[in-house]
């Protein structure tokens, strides 16, 4: 080229992500200070942690091999209880979620119904299943029924919210077209709404079954029955090989459920 050479800058720096330098350094400094204080107040008992190493080793070694013998059938009973609990909680939760979800869709329900249903959704979503389970155990006594109640409430919060969002996002023109034929409200739901949201909902229900099974393993720790109770007992008695077996079984079942849900979702669509 004929234009004057070396008039071009030979230095270039990537422009920073945050343009304002005060803000940039403020953010970096703030995060550093937080990390320092956070780690400082962690209050770790290193001696205790050191003492725990042999125990940790024992726990890991218990996986080779895990003890599947299950002489008193406690593991099998626990697993089955968890499975039943998860199934019923999913079915009951979804049965309640459908009306709640319809009510919580702003394009479907009148204002007061909408607010009421949204309140139900928010209420059942805020607290983790374990806290719900603690209260359920207080009210219904120890056992799978309490776990069932906790999981069902959790399911409502999860499912009704997603159902409502799905309905709000659906194609308005299809809904309008059915309404224009003079269909009644139920016919309208059946012909315009249901076909649009159904495939995703079926996939989600299997996913929620998967979540409920996993959660059923923890509600047992606070007295909600199922495999969690068995696992807790195994830990209390230092029966690490049984605990390892239970963990592996949980992992196996979750994998199977995940596979089924993937397959089902493909089949539905």
């Amino acid at each position: 080229m004929s234009d004057a050479p070396t008039t071009f800058p030979s230095h270039w720096k990537k422009p920073p992500l945050v343009k304002n330098s005060t803000l940039r350094w403020g953010l970096i400094l703030g995060f550093a200070i937080y990390l320092a204080i956070g780690l400082g107040t962690m209050d770790v008992d290193w001696e205790r942690a050191w003492d725990g190493i042999p125990k940790g080793k024992r726990f890991i070694l218990a996986f080779f091999p895990p003890d599947f013998s299950d002489s008193r059938n406690v593991v099998l009973d626990g697993i089955l209880e968890s499975v039943w609990m998860a199934i019923i909680a999913t079915v009951a939760g979804i049965a309640i979620s459908v009306p709640v979800g319809l009510g919580a869709a702003s394009n479907l329900a009148p204002k007061w119904v909408y607010l009421f249903c949204r309140a139900i959704v928010a209420g059942s979503r805020t607290f983790p299943e374990v806290i719900l389970a603690i209260f359920a155990v207080k009210l219904f006594g120890f056992g799978p029924f309490a776990g069932f109640i906790a999981l069902a409430i959790g399911t409502i919060g999860f499912f009704a919210k997603l159902l409502a969002e799905d309905i709000e996002n659906m194609s308005a023109s299809q809904a309008e077209a059915i309404k224009a034929t003079g269909a009644s409200w139920f016919q309208w739901i059946n012909y315009a709404i249901q076909p649009q949201v159904m495939p995703r909902m079926i996939g989600l229900s299997v996913y929620r079954l998967d979540i409920n099974f996993r959660e059923s393993a923890v509600v047992g720790i606070v007295g909600g029955g199922g495999i969690g109770a068995t696992l807790n007992t195994a830990f209390d008695r230092y029966e690490f090989d049984t605990a390892a077996a239970i963990l592996l079984i949980i992992i196996g079942i979750v994998m199977v459920l995940e596979y089924i849900s993937g397959y089902l979702r493909k089949w539905v669509q």
């Binding site: 080229m1 071009f8 800058p9 230095h11 270039w12 990537k14 422009p15």
Partner: protein, 289 residues
């Protein structure tokens, strides 16, 4: 000089994209590769720098046989072949400057590329190229903020900063409007002349191919069916490449286009810009049949 010998490619799906292609491109020659979609144009270009691994045949760049290279040597060889993509293929979330400098990746180490501390002369060259294509002020913009024509210019800079001997250009105008298409094609052409680069330009627009190349190669179903000067594209030849169509209108257009003396910004009469693609043009029908 680039030389292809018996180049063939069969995809796993069983499609035979290239069948025994022999081609020689002397230094500094710009050739246009035309042909219908699926004729194997993209595959041919990608077999040269081995983004697609050819099944059979050899590719020579100068004395070097590209087809036999190990991955390290191939990376070094790729530095000498700049590639310009359809749909630009810029890394959209990086800045324009980073996109241009990414053309130097083959020359620098991992640490330099991580810290973006490229050598001074690379940065200078990047600025020089951006200035050449008229994007000096855009250096620190993110690539996805640019318009289509601007992005393709960045793509050109990225290829040229590699300091290549050969340009591989894959449908550079596929997603550009007619006017920008011409500007981009002219820019590529000029840059090739300035630097004495050879280039293979894949293009489906016959008119543009005729305007901006010294030689046209027609590909049909993976075989070369035409190899000759741009004005040798008669209706018979085009029919051989693309199939039966009304080709008169397409060819006629080229004659009254003064390519050599075109001003910096071509103002093209509306009726010509209206439908630049040969296929669409045939629909207008200047009446042959």
């Amino acid at each position: 000089m680039l030389r292809l010998e018996g180049l063939s490619k069969r995809y796993k799906t069983g499609d035979e994209a290239l069948k025994d292609v022999d081609l020689e491109i002397p230094d500094g020659q710009v050739i246009a590769l035309i042909g219908p979609s699926g004729a194997g144009k993209s595959t041919l270009i990608r077999c040269v720098n081995r983004l697609v691994e050819p099944t059979r045949g050899k590719v020579y760049l100068g004395e070097l046989e590209l087809t036999g290279l190990s991955s390290g040597a191939l990376r070094r060889a790729r530095r000498k072949m700049g590639m310009i993509f359809q749909e630009y293929a810029l890394v959209e979330r990086l800045s324009v400057m980073e996109n241009v400098l990414s053309g130097r990746l083959g020359y620098v180490g991992f640490w330099t590329s991580w810290t973006r501390k490229f050598p001074k002369k690379d940065i200078q060259e990047a600025y020089r190229l951006l200035d050449r294509v008229g994007l000096m002020d855009m250096a620190d913009k993110r690539a996805d903020e640019l318009s289509g024509g601007q992005r393709q210019r960045v793509g050109i800079c990225r290829a040229l900063i590699q300091d290549p001997d050969l340009l591989l250009v894959d449908e550079p105008t596929a997603s550009l409007d007619p006017k920008t298409s011409r500007q981009i094609m002219r820019l590529i052409n000029e840059l090739c002349k300035e630097r004495g680069l050879a280039a293979i330009i894949n293009i489906h627009d016959v008119q543009l191919a005729q305007m901006y190349s010294q030689r046209v190669v027609g590909l049909e179903l993976g075989s070369i069916v035409y190899d000759g000067p741009p004005d040798g594209l008669t209706p018979e030849v085009l029919t051989r490449i693309y199939g039966e169509e009304d080709w008169e209108a397409t060819i006629e257009k080229v004659d009254d286009e003064d390519v050599e003396n075109a001003p910096e910004t071509i103002v093209i009469p509306k009726k010509k810009t209206a439908s630049p693609k040969s296929k669409a043009k045939a629909g207008n029908g200047k009446g042959k049949s």
